[in-house]
Amino acid sequence: MSDLLARLIAVAFVSGLFVPGLAAHAQESGYYYPLNQRLPLGEVARWNATIHPGLYGQTQPVRITLPSTGHVTYYDGRSPQGVLADAPSQAGLLVGNVYRVRISGMPEFPGIELYPSIELLDRLHPPPGQEQNFPVPVTFTVEEIETALQDRMVTKVVYLEQPQRAAPFDQKDGPHIEDVPPSSNLLEAADQRGRPIAIVRLGGRIPDANAGAAFFGPPVPVVFPTQVPQPPAQP
């Protein structure tokens, strides 16, 4: 090995090129963001729960929407088959945890089952009694499912818009989606636009027959609403 090669390796170590997901991406906003979407599952949620004491374990309603219809299966550890629900489905997830759900029964993709993960970072604070009326939307579009079926992984960060900097147009078909380059830090981009709430990862990975329940991670409770959400009550 030549001396030049040895110097190059030394420079690479110092510059952090061998630390995946931490320092290999430039900061776009001028701030240093130690977290990004490439960290292992649950790492960002744990950081956020540590920064904000009292946040971990709070229940936040999440509404999962498919392109048209289908099924959503939650895995809370009670049964290996999970809890099957029709889409769009709304359930309460605990902040600071990672959930892996199964979406299936989509008429646009017959016979296709995908297992996206939802990492809940933060929660809302609606008025008392209005919790179920303001869930966090997690939507899966047709193009996202097609991308996942092409062995690519779709990563999304759902964030709460800052009202003063919100996009001045209507939301007709779900939340506004902005595509960013793969090398970007999604958490940084979301933090610049609002408050990150959840990280959604959708890929083509399916459960390994030999892995068993390890694919779904540690069981985390899922809170199902006892009644159908009602429209916002008028004052």
């Binding site: 030049l4 190059l8 690479a12 995946p20 977290l35 979407q37 950081w47 956020n48 920064i51 004491p53 009292g54 971990y56 374990g57 709070q58 229940t59 309460g92 605990l94 600071g96 933060d122 809302l124 604070h125 609606p126 008025p127 209005q130 939507t139 062995d151 690519r152 992984m153 990563t155 999304k156 960060v157 759902v158 964030y159 709460l160 818009e161 009202p163 919100a166 996009a167 001045p168 209507d170 939301q171 939340p175 506004h176 989606i177 902005e178 595509d179 960013v180 380059p181 793969p182 970007s184 999604l186 979301a190 609002g194 408050r195 990150p196 990975r205 409770p221 809170v223 916002p232 009550a233």
Partner: protein, 489 residues
């Protein structure tokens, strides 16, 4: 959120702080054991579990208070009521010291009681039974001491079906469910609300170029008072719970190890620095020279020679004549002429000054005659007529919304109520509302109780600026209301 994490940069230091708070969470009563009022309050609860599970400091303080009560109760055993005081005092509510009884009442009390017993007497009246004698002593004012509860937020997460609560009774909370320490409260909840009204950011003001500081969400009232001075008053702020979400998305290959190996590959590093790569650009430069040969063959060389011959440098030298012009156009000469003109003007001014310096001016200004004409009687009469005891006019604006929560697509009706709280009129009253980007004004929905008009203009941020102008001055102690509707985006 994450920026804050970076700024603190002491994640594990923060964890240490959390551990401190965890200790306080585990023994909340220990925080109040040093204050007698808290200890008494814990006794006031009367629950048996306090006596069993309370820490030692609390028991000590409670025991001291109870001992004092026992001391007084020992004397009360000789009282006419004849009640057994020891268990009674332990169950009584603590009352403050009682003022002395009247002399008449004291005379009828049994002998052998000192002043201290009189102070204990109201305790028996309060708890055990009415006084046995006919004398109605001064009844103490019973102060119900509410035990101070520590202000905690989200000590334990709420339970979920199947699991009643994360924290079993009697056991401390897990470390993650600690009390929010001071300074760590969440402050960014405002992003869940859609607010409009008030004057956020730079206050609205006027400068030499017009109105400044009117940001989105601002709602102000402009008017001129009876002196003609312009004023600005902000309205109240109204907020609606209307969170809206968006997503940032990317798609990539899930295998990150391959990308890392490529970055660390030796070939990628050596390739750009290879000697072969450096030689390649040199060969391309030679190709450029070949293109230069084509240019020479394409253009006629004769023309080039003619052009060279026509380059009479003598002509260029002629252009140096401009230098002479420069010398001729010296501005010094012009300046000198201007100075001379100015000197002439000054000379005239001096003559004028001489003319004004005569004594004639002094004689013309006959102050005596003017002072005689300006009698104070007329001025006083005029002042009485001008005097207006009405208070200056001022504008008070209140903005209201017809709903507390909204989702994208809902229609919200805003009502701006303005009132002249002063006595004099307000002129050129205008109500200006710069809508937030998430509010879309519905055309034709504006209405006003008073005669006026509404102007709608784009604010440059995707929403509109609504300006309500009143045709007539706003009289004192009068009010009006403008109403309009917006659609939540």
């Amino acid at each position: 959120m994450f920026r804050r994490a970076v700024l603190t940069a002491g994640l594990w230091g923060g964890s240490a702080g959390l551990l401190l708070c965890t200790s306080s969470c585990r023994t909340p009563t220990a925080l109040h054991s040093s204050t007698p009022s808290a200890a008494i309050a814990s006794q006031t609860d009367g629950s048996g579990e306090q006596g069993q599970a309370s820490p030692a400091p609390v028991d000590e303080t409670a025991r001291s208070v109870a001992a004092a009560a026992h001391t007084t109760a020992a004397h009360t055993t000789a009282a006419p009521s004849g009640t057994s005081s020891a268990p009674t005092i332990q169950q009584t509510t603590w009352v403050p010291p009682v003022p002395e009884m009247p002399a008449a009442a004291r005379a009828q009390s049994p002998a052998g009681q000192d002043d201290q017993q009189h102070q204990v007497q109201p305790v028996q009246h309060q708890v055990v039974s009415p006084p046995a004698n006919d004398v109605d002593p001064v009844r103490p004012i019973v102060h119900e001491i509410v035990p101070r509860t520590p202000v905690v937020a989200e000590v334990c997460p709420p339970g979920y079906p199947g699991v009643p609560n994360m924290c079993p009774p009697g056991s401390p909370c897990p470390p993650s469910y600690v009390v929010v320490p001071p300074g760590y409260e969440r402050w960014e909840f405002g992003d869940e609300y859609l607010c409009d009204g008030g004057d956020r950011g730079l206050p609205v003001h006027y400068d030499g170029f017009g109105r400044r500081g009117l940001e989105t969400e601002d709602t102000i009232g402009e008017f001129k008072d009876h002196l003609g001075e312009a004023h600005v008053r902000p309205s109240s702020r109204v907020c609606i719970y209307a969170p809206r979400f968006a997503e940032v998305r990317t798609a990539s290959l899930p295998i990150t190890d391959v990308a890392v190996n490529k970055l660390a590959a030796n070939h990628d590093r050596i390739g750009p620095g290879g000697l072969d790569t450096q030689l390649a650009p040199g060969q391309q430069q030679q190709n450029d020279e070949l293109h230069g040969l084509e240019m020479r063959s394409r253009a006629s060389g004769v023309d080039v020679d003619m052009s060279d011959s026509s380059l009479a440098k003598v002509d260029r030298i002629d252009s140096h004549v401009k230098l002479i012009n420069v010398y001729e156009d010296l501005s010094f000469a012009t300046d000198i002429q201007i100075d001379q003109l100015g000197t002439a003007v000054i000379g005239q001014a001096l003559q004028n000054a001489l003319a004004w310096s005569g004594d004639t001016v002094t004689y013309i200004i006959a102050h005596n005659f003017k002072s005689q004409e300006l009698t104070a009687r007329f001025a006083i009469e005029e002042y009485v007529g001008i005097e207006d005891k009405r208070t200056p006019g001022d504008l008070k604006i209140i903005k209201l919304a017809d709903r507390k929560t909204a989702k994208p697509g809902d229609v919200v009706t805003f009502k701006i109520h303005f009132e002249n709280v002063g006595g004099r009129e307000l002129y050129e009253v205008r109500i200006v509302d710069n809508l937030t980007p998430r509010l879309q004004y519905i055309e034709g929905s504006a209405s006003s109780e008073l005669d006026g008009r509404v102007n709608i203009e784009d604010n440059g941020e995707g929403s509109q600026i609504l300006t309500f102008e009143l045709f007539e001055p706003l009289e004192g102690k009068t009010s009006g209301t403008v109403t309009f509707e917006c659609r939540v985006r």
